[in-house]
Symmetry: C2
């Protein structure tokens, strides 16, 4: 018989266009699952659990919950709060368990990337150690598409579709004004893995179509090669449009653009990147001798629900829904994965991967998806990503011509937790 | 009786999401106008006329012409080639007239901003002086919305809708991750006039909604005031989202971010701007002491047909179509304007303004559209722009999940022109 108790759903890490669809899948499924006696949200991921900032999702208006399917960013709030190993962050893990106990939380659904799966995994270890019955399920989310043990990650298909469209549109600008604005560099996200940059290869349908050159963190970046590449394209087309992942580096840990100062590192110890576009622009103007513009989409790229992929959005919902169904059946300690069971026609089913395996894995763009020269992608890469970019998401529009996105009212629970003796 | 002859249509200046819709209006109307005996395009605006790089639009596939309505950037090619006054640039103007004579061009439709209207105006003066019968009509286009004698400019409604949506979406990112990425600065286009920045005020539906602060070139920018504004919003909301026009300055000709070096000025003598977002980010991090991200949409913002305004697109078509109808009736030396004949419900009709008047005018955001503090907009500004942002443009989608945009084949005419004796 399924364990009775309440659940918490939380979102963590960088938002995506469809992480709310996953939350919607969890919430709508949990609300109709008999063994789940209450559906709560933690505000800002584990931070909300730690501070007992928990709200009753059951009290949100159903139409606002439904609107999650077409609302960007993380409606529950997100965080980048890093829990370390069980010994170092012992107080945090125990605090979480205490809060769970106080509110009779028996199900925890964590939507996030590998850092979040790591947190979820360690929490489930501690719960077992303290004999607190808790079901922990991970729901994958990352625009970076770098989670191991899953064919791809919800959030990726939408960012791929959006940045590829932007590259196509801005590419037409460079094409129209090449006598004046001859080059354009577009910087996209991807700290270690170049999946987002690689996806824009789909927009390069013909030699004329932007982007003409694509650089990924997986391939050591050489200024000399870059300049030669730009000169070659410029000679052929009279213009050049470049896409570069924010994490491009020389292969020896030196990033093309590394920010200095007090904000150089985030709380996971990752180097904060930026300025790749400006750096490359400077190189193009100086070394190639043509005027260059640049585009830094920043956080706008990962929230583009206004032009998201329906396949991605629907899969994001599915993994959330499935996590609840599996949890109700007693499954714990796993992340729901996506398995491509058919390439043509594309068909995906859900699978499972152990949280600890996902936590420690990282999936880079394989070498065979990158062209020999290391400045573009192969047909294999395009065939991988195209099915993930299909269809459009219908957006609710307001009277002012702009989208209506949901915002939760967050009816907070009264704080019940007392400090552990 | 209407003058018989061929026509040339050309596009100039920065592309927009809907400048092709105007070209479509001109082309489709010209093709069915009996007195117009041939419809040609000049590749890259007047540059194409000067180099006799002219192609037969009548030989493009009708479905590719129709696709102009949902294709971004300038499909005919654009330029920033500056023709000065009739004496200084005499050779250029005479060359244009010679090319027109050689191909029996009797109608010239120039789609562009005030620099283009200036060129068109001077050309019509020269034609009259040389007794060459020529009808010259201007078709307004600019995302900057700074043309005088028209209620608004085609291209503006679409960029307004798109950047406002981006501000809304990226604003939700800052809202979700405020504990980590507390501030975001988004830079938008607008060298002298802050119309684009001002439009994002529509996204600020409630105090919570981004953008919380908006800075326009019309209001002298003070770093002290900016820091105080950010601190105030941060205190109230725990986050801050800023939109800044690229041309913000201290009111005495000093721009917040001015590029140096050989690419500092374009051929019109305008200072090339960029780096506003990075500069403001630095100020926020240093003076407010919170982490700040930035977004530079660059040329992507003016080509966002994937989320353009249908009202804007339809009006862009209308002004092109109307220019041909008026030309066929003998009107010359005018630009088609848009007149808002009713506010509620919104209704626009076309009007006319003399090319020379438009050439010398520039319309800034009026003071009453900007709030007292100079860091946001008024209800009046919102009421002005909201009707221009209504409806979505249907895009033709390809099998790869990305849009299909038109690209002309450009069947060039044989060069007939011999140099003037």
């Amino acid at each position: 018989m399924a364990m009775k108790g309440k659940c918490i759903v939380a979102q963590s890490g960088g938002p995506t266009a469809v992480i709310n669809a996953s939350a919607c899948g969890v919430i709508q499924e949990a609300l109709k699952t008999p063994c789940i006696t209450g559906v709560f949200g933690a505000h800002n991921g584990v931070l909300g659990v730690l501070t007992e900032d928990i709200f009753d999702v059951g009290r949100e208006k159903p139409e606002q919950v439904e609107l999650l399917k077409s609302s960007p960013s993380a409606a529950l709030g997100s965080c980048r709060y890093k829990l370390k190993d069980l010994e170092t962050s012992k107080a945090d893990y125990e605090r979480i368990l205490d809060v769970f106990r106080a509110h009779d939380i028996r199900y925890f659904f964590y939507i996030g990337g590998n850092d979040s799966m790591d947190t979820a995994h360690k929490l489930s270890i501690l719960a077992a150690r303290e004999s607190y019955e808790l079901i922990v399920m991970g729901v994958p989310k990352t625009i970076d598409n770098d989670l191991a043990f899953t064919d791809h990650c919800p959030g990726y298909g939408s960012v791929a579709k959006y940045v590829s469209t932007i590259a196509m549109e801005a590419g037409r600008d460079t094409e129209a004004l090449y006598t004046h604005d001859t080059a354009t560099v577009m910087e996209v996200m991807g700290r270690n893995a170049g999946w987002i940059a690689a996806s824009t290869g789909v927009a390069h349908r013909t030699a004329e179509d932007a982007p003409h050159l694509i650089y990924l963190p997986e391939i050591p970046f050489s200024v000399e090669k870059f300049v030669a590449d730009c000169k070659k394209v410029y000679k052929e087309l009279g213009r050049v449009f470049v896409v570069a992942g924010e994490g491009i580096n020389d292969g020896q840990g030196n990033y093309v653009a590394e920010q200095k100062g007090p904000f150089a590192k985030d709380s996971f110890g990752h180097t904060q990147l930026g300025g790749v576009a400006e750096t490359l622009k400077g190189i193009v103007q100086k070394e190639v001798g043509i005027k260059c513009r640049y585009i830094v989409m920043g956080t706008a790229q990962r929230n583009g629900i206004h032009f998201a992929s329906k396949v991605d959005r629907d899969e994001a919902y599915l993994v959330g829904q499935k996590a609840v169904q599996l949890a109700a059946d007693g499954t714990t300690g796993y992340m729901v994965t996506l398995e491509r069971v058919s390439k043509e026609p594309y068909r995906c089913e859900t699978g499972l991967a152990k949280l600890e395996d996902v936590a420690n894995g990282e999936k880079m763009v394989p070498r065979e998806f990158i062209n020999e020269e290391g400045n573009g992608v192969t047909q294999g890469m395009k065939e991988y990503v195209v099915p993930l970019m299909q269809g459009e998401v219908k957006i609710k529009m307001g009277k002012d011509g702009l989208p209506d996105y949901t915002r939760f009212r967050r009816h907070n629970l009264s704080k019940k937790c007392t400090a552990r003796a």
